[in-house]
Symmetry: D2
C-alpha cells in the first residue's frame, strides 16, 4: 500500500472558476510528498540547501480528470520509484473521497539530487534512497 | 476552549527568507476558520454566492511574533465574536508546538454578511449566527 | 514571433529553497496565457462558467531547467496550437533575461472546451479558435 | 507623488467566490513594495538573510473596500514612513482603474530591521533608511 495523505480543499486552493487552480494541484501533491518523507523520519529542510544537498524537481506531469471544490476531502497517494543512483520519480493519485471514490488527478514529479558545491548530480543520501526503495 | 486546527507548515507556505510568507499566515488562519465552520456543520460554499449571501472579509490585522519554518507543527485557535447583527470578528492565535508552545502570530478578521441581490448588509443566517455566539 | 509576457519574480513566488516553487512556475505561465488572451481581445471571464463554456486545463507538463530567484526578470513566450476542434495546447518558454538569456523552464498545457449544460466537449468559440490558429 | 505599481489581477489571485482572496491582497502590496525598492536601486535579496540583516514584517492591517476580479487593472501606491531608527511602516492604496478610479483596499505593514547574529533590532542600512525618508 502506498503512503497516503488526507487533505481538505481550502478556499485558498481554488480560483474564480470555482475549482482548484491547476497549479495548486501540484502543490497538494508536494504536501503529500513532504508528509511521506516526514513519516519516514526524513526532514525536508535537509534537502533545501542547509547541507550541501538539494533535491529539486526537474520535471512534472499532471493529468487533471475531475475538478475539486472547497471542502472536498482528498486522499493523495505517494509512490516513489528510482530513476538512477541520483534521481527518482514520484507518482501521485488524488482521489476525491465520498460514497464512491473518484480519481481527480494523476501527477508525476522527477527529482534530481544535486551537490551545491560540486554543481553536479550526486548520489541520494542513504535515508532518502531507502525511502525511494521502500516506495 | 476555542476550536483549534492542527497544521504542518509546507514548503509552499514559505518564501526565500526561509520562513512562512507573511500573507500566507492569513491563509493558514482562514483554513482554521473553514475547519471550524465545517466542524459546526456549516458549508463554506453556502457563503460564496451560491445562495444570495456572501460573507466577505472587510478587515484583517495580524501581529507576526515568531517566524515559522517548513515542518513546524501549528495549532491555530479560532474565536468568533459578534460585532452586530450582520457582522462578526474572528481572532486566531497560531501556536508553534514543541516542548514549549510559543505564540507565532495573532490575527483578527472581520466578516460582513451581504445580500447579493439587495447589495447591502443583511442578517447572518441563523446557523452562522449560532456559530458566532458559540465562540 | 510568439506572444511574450515580461514578469519579475516576486518573493511570494519563492520557497524556503530560495527559488521559485515548482508549482508557481505553472502559475507564471498561466499569467502569460491570460495576458496573451487579453492582447487578442479575449476575456478570460468568458471561459470561467459565466457563459455555458469552460476551458479547463486537462494536462500539464513542465521541465525545470534553471532555478529562478527573487528579482529575476523573465520573458515568457506563449505558443498555442490546435489539438482538435474542441481542444488546444499551449507551449511556454520561460527565459531568464540578462547579458545572456537562459532557458529556465519549458511548459505545456492542454485545454479542453466544455459545455457546462451538456457536460461534454464542445467546439471552441470562434474568437478563441482564431487565437489558437494565430499561434 | 508616491511610487505606484501597475498590476493586472490574475486567475491565481482569485478564489471560488470569484474575487481576489483576501490574503492575496497583501501579496499584491508586497509586490508593489518590492518594485518600489527595486526602483530605488535596492535589492530585496539583501534583506532576506544573505547578509546579517533581515527586515521581516511585524504587523499588517488591511481594509478591503471593493472586490477585485480577474483582469481588473490596479494601481498600487507605496508610501513608506519611519517608525524609529530600526523600523518603518508602509501604507498602500489599491485603486481599481477604469472610467472612475475606485479604492479597493487600504493596507499597512510594519517592518523591523533585525540582526541575525545579534538576534536584536538594528539600525536600517543607509540605503533603506533613505528609501523610507524619501517616502
Amino acid at each position: 500500500m502506498p503512503f497516503s495523505h488526507l487533505r481538505t480543499v481550502r478556499l485558498a486552493d481554488t480560483d474564480a472558476a470555482g475549482v482548484v487552480f491547476f497549479a495548486r494541484t501540484l502543490a497538494l501533491c508536494h504536501e503529500a510528498y513532504e508528509e511521506s518523507l516526514a513519516a519516514a523520519g526524513l526532514d525536508l529542510n535537509d534537502f533545501l540547501g542547509r547541507a550541501d544537498i538539494i533535491v529539486p524537481i526537474s520535471r512534472s506531469e499532471a493529468d487533471y480528470k475531475r475538478p475539486l471544490r472547497v471542502g472536498d476531502k482528498l486522499r493523495i497517494s505517494v509512490t516513489p520509484s528510482p530513476l538512477s543512483g541520483n534521481a527518482f520519480a514520484v507518482t501521485y493519485e488524488i482521489m476525491k473521497l465520498g460514497p464512491v471514490e473518484k480519481l481527480s488527478a494523476r501527477v508525476r514529479t522527477e527529482h534530481v539530487c544535486t551537490s551545491l558545491s560540486k554543481r553536479e548530480r550526486t548520489a541520494l543520501p542513504p535515508a532518502l534512497a531507502a525511502w525511494v526503495q521502500a516506495g
